[in-house]
């Protein structure tokens, strides 16, 4: 059987800590009796990431900083505790991709992240990363990093990872790595090392152990008693079309030409649902319809406007610039639709009695729509429009209310009585 590693001649600079991590990771996987094809190694962009070609495992080499999210996607897709998803990332990748690490830790996905923390960006020339300790010299902070670095273990532990550990990248680290790899749930091992090409050169006379200690980072293990994420499989999802209610054509056709209608009122006063009821009622009379809403981003306050097109023929363009019919049931609605109403040269405006009528070329019908209560004002106004113009049979609207399960919520009898007064 093949081992995890294809070769022991790894492509790093002489003395680079990445060499030890790769070899001991392979040893740890073998110790846990993973075969190469049980393992998916996802590598980040950086010196540590050029290991792919030396591995007999499956290898996935993605983008800088995104390897943990990519590995998370693979973990979701495999959903198999017998397989091992292992992510190799640097301190640089952990900086740009911190969100992905926190997310995988929070969800406690069944995967292991190995952070190669050499305290700087190796591949790009030794710059300062978010994990560089305060005072550590890099090519871009020659006098020492003025900022303190993240404690990635504290972070993942707080986020909910089953296991987080920081170890020194010296000696036989196989047992520590094997302990992390064996965890069911999210595990992260941060391995402290120093890059001979930049770190050693820029910090002469400093020892790795002293740097780690003076940065306040503890060597140790952080554990959370938490179950690994398991996919909720097998939930049957329904055909979306099956749940769509059919609208029967059970009323005689009444509409002979296209009508565009805009109804404006206040949020929470049932403008959109009234417009939908009108649209469905029109469909019962053989009409083609479109309906869309507009409202502020904060859907619970301010205006609410619905645009409805009704036509005896199929509708293509459904924009409404100047409507044939405008219906206004509140002050919010009037403010929102005033310009349009002023632009009407013909057509009809139905407006609540309490509001001032804007300048318009439309025929104006004023009525006490709000007398049925604010929540029913829009529906009442549309019933009134249907009855007044005869364009849509108002009984079709009542029937639609009845069949749509809204009967309990809508004071049907009161509306009918008012309408026929």
């Amino acid at each position: 059987m093949n081992g995890i590693l294809k070769t022991t001649a790894l492509p790093y600079c002489k003395g680079c800590g990445h060499d030890l991590i790769a070899k001991k990771s392979a040893a740890a996987l073998e110790k846990l009796q993973f075969t190469p094809l049980d393992v998916v190694v996802v590598t980040d962009i950086g010196c540590h990431g050029i290991i792919d070609k030396c591995l007999n495992t499956h290898t996935v080499h993605g983008l800088h900083g995104r390897s943990v999210a990519l590995g998370a996607g693979i973990t979701f897709g495999l959903d198999n505790p017998e397989k091992k998803v292992l992510v190799f990332i640097g301190d640089g990748g952990s900086t740009i991709g911190l969100q992905h690490i926190m997310e995988a830790a929070r969800l406690n996905l069944n995967m292991t992240v190995v952070v190669h923390n050499n305290m700087l960006y190796g591949m790009t020339g030794g710059q300062t990363s978010g994990l560089t300790p305060q005072g550590f010299c890099t090519t871009t902070s020659a006098d020492g990093n003025p900022f303190s670095g993240y404690d990635i273990c504290e972070l993942t532990s707080t986020a909910g990872a089953s296991y987080s550990a920081r170890i020194m990248g010296v000696g036989d680290i196989t047992p520590s790595l094997a302990e992390a790899f064996a965890v069911k749930g999210f595990s992260l091992v941060e391995i402290m090392e120093i890059c001979p090409s930049y770190g050693v050169k820029l910090n002469p006379r400093r020892k790795l152990s002293e740097i780690v200690e003076s940065s306040g980072r503890k060597i140790g293990v952080w554990r959370n008693e938490k179950k690994s994420f398991i996919m909720q499989q097998g939930k049957k999802k329904n055909d979306l079309l099956a749940s769509v209610e059919e609208v029967k054509n059970d009323f005689p056709a009444t509409l002979e030409k296209d009508i565009s209608l805009v109804i404006s009122g206040s949020a929470g006063e049932g403008v959109q649902s009234a417009a939908t009821l009108l649209a469905r009622a029109a469909m019962r009379s053989g009409c083609h319809v479109t309906q869309k809403g507009s409202y502020p981003v904060t859907v619970g306050v301010g205006f609410s406007t619905a645009e409805v097109n009704l036509s005896p023929a199929p509708i293509n363009f459904h924009g409404i610039d100047v409507p044939d019919v405008a219906v206004v049931t509140s002050g919010d609605g009037l403010t929102h639709s005033k310009k349009r109403i002023e632009g009407m040269k013909k057509g009809v405006l139905f407006i609540d009695e309490s509001l001032d009528t804007p300048e318009t070329g439309a025929e104006v019908v004023r009525h006490d729509f709000r007398s049925v209560g604010a929540r029913s004002a829009s529906l009442y106004a549309l019933l009134f429009f249907a009855n007044h113009t005869g364009l849509i049979d108002y009984e079709a609207i009542f029937r639609t209310i009845q069949e749509s399960g809204l009967k309990e919520k809508v004071p049907v009898e009161k509306l009918r009585e008012k309408l026929l007064q």
Binding site: I74, K235, K237, N249
Partner: protein, 375 residues
């Protein structure tokens, strides 16, 4: 169950059709991050797809999708420009790794956050240039409710067949407007299957058979063959290379993939009128207005043809061929820089090609064509 002739009228949004179509075609995972005007697709996706995951951002969205695709799933998502912008590097990754997926891009008014609740057609120039190296992803664009059913399924099968991310382009007014629709018109959708490797020789993930452009697939973690996926320049084994011949041939193949298969997915509606010297060309939401104005001109006895383009990228050459037959070509799209015209002609726009554009509102039928335009 479909294709029966008994009328079944419903009142639905295009979002519902798009989601159901993708699911029936074989998309099995929806990864979502909320953004107006794509939220309805997220909602329907969560109700319909066997797997739904809420991502913490759009970079994660694309990375999770890529990971899922690496295991053999066909994931989809829906977003709008701000989210799409975050996805761009990861879409490049999925393109390079050759992972199938569909991204529904619901256009809204930009730049930047722009206006979330205002439609637009401002993103095709971005789509043309989004892959470093100038390579292209297939981009299909819906221009009717019927398209909201047929094109998403084709996007899924194209993604699987070509092993590539595919963008399904639409816009706010198409996915958020409810419309009466006869469901008996919906054609049957057959689910796709990824073409998987069945050979006995060692699997080389980026090796294609003679005459083919996409490699057969094997999921990572399979127990038979090692799989290597790589977003860096790589050879047929999936091993990183600087720029050797094999690696450059692989990148050239990626460039050729979408273009050489284009004839298999060139979708457009051409409605030519005998004797017409004017043609209206449009796509997406503006195609609705274009249809209206063309039909109404014909009712007035005017002669005019109509071309609605649905395959946006790579641009099929047939569009320019059709347009070349007319004395006047009016191209209507909801932006102010004639992006489709630009894609077709570059800086060599013929003088008889007249763009009609708009921002902040839909282009109306009357703005596209006047009677005197019908030569």
């Amino acid at each position: 169950m479909q294709n029966n002739s008994v009328e079944k009228k419903v009142l639905i949004e295009g979002s519902l059709l798009i989601t159901e179509s993708m699911a029936r075609a074989g998309a099995d995972s929806f990864i979502g991050y909320p953004i107006t005007p794509a939220n309805l697709l997220y909602l329907y996706g969560s109700r319909r797809m066997p797997l739904m995951l809420p991502a913490p951002d759009e970079i994660t969205t694309l990375q999770w999708m890529s990971g899922l695709a690496a295991t053999g799933r066909i994931p989809v998502t829906a977003t709008s420009f701000p989210g799409f912008a975050l996805m761009v590097e990861s879409i490049n990754m999925a393109f390079m790794m050759e992972l199938p997926m569909v991204i529904v891009l619901v256009q809204r008014l930009g730049p930047a956050t722009g206006t979330a609740t205002c439609g637009s057609q401002g993103d095709i120039s971005l789509l043309r240039g989004m892959i470093s190296g100038g390579h292209q992803l297939p981009v299909l664009c819906t221009s009717s409710f019927e398209d909201c059913w047929s094109l998403p399924a084709r996007a899924v099968s194209l993604a699987a067949e070509l092993r590539t991310p595919v963008v399904l382009l639409t816009s706010k007014e198409e996915v958020m407007t409810q419309k009466s629709f006869d469901m008996s018109l919906l054609e049957e959708i057959t689910p796709v299957k990824l073409k998987s490797y069945e050979g006995e020789e060692t699997y080389r993930p980026y090796m294609v058979k003679e005459g083919e452009l996409s490699p057969p697939f094997l999921p990572v973690a399979n127990g038979k063959w090692q799989v290597r996926l790589n977003a860096s320049t790589h050879d047929t084994n999936g091993i990183l290379q600087h720029s050797n011949e094999e690696a450059m041939a692989n990148t050239r193949r990626l460039d050729a993939k979408a273009r050489e298969k284009l004839k298999d997915y060139t979708y457009y509606q051409l409605d030519e009128q005998e004797g017409a010297r004017t043609i209206v060309v449009s796509y997406g939401i503006t195609a609705l207005a274009a249809r209206d104005v063309v039909y109404s001109m014909r009712e007035k006895g005017k002669k005019v043809s109509l071309l609605v383009v649905k395959t946006i990228l790579p641009v099929p050459a047939v569009y320019a061929d059709i347009m070349a037959n007319y004395h006047k070509v009016i191209v209507a799209e909801e932006n102010i820089n004639a992006q489709l015209v630009d894609l077709i002609y570059g800086v060599q726009r013929p003088e008889n090609v007249v763009p009609v554009g708009s921002i902040g509102k839909m282009i109306t039928p009357g703005e596209i064509l006047k009677e005197e335009d019908c030569l």
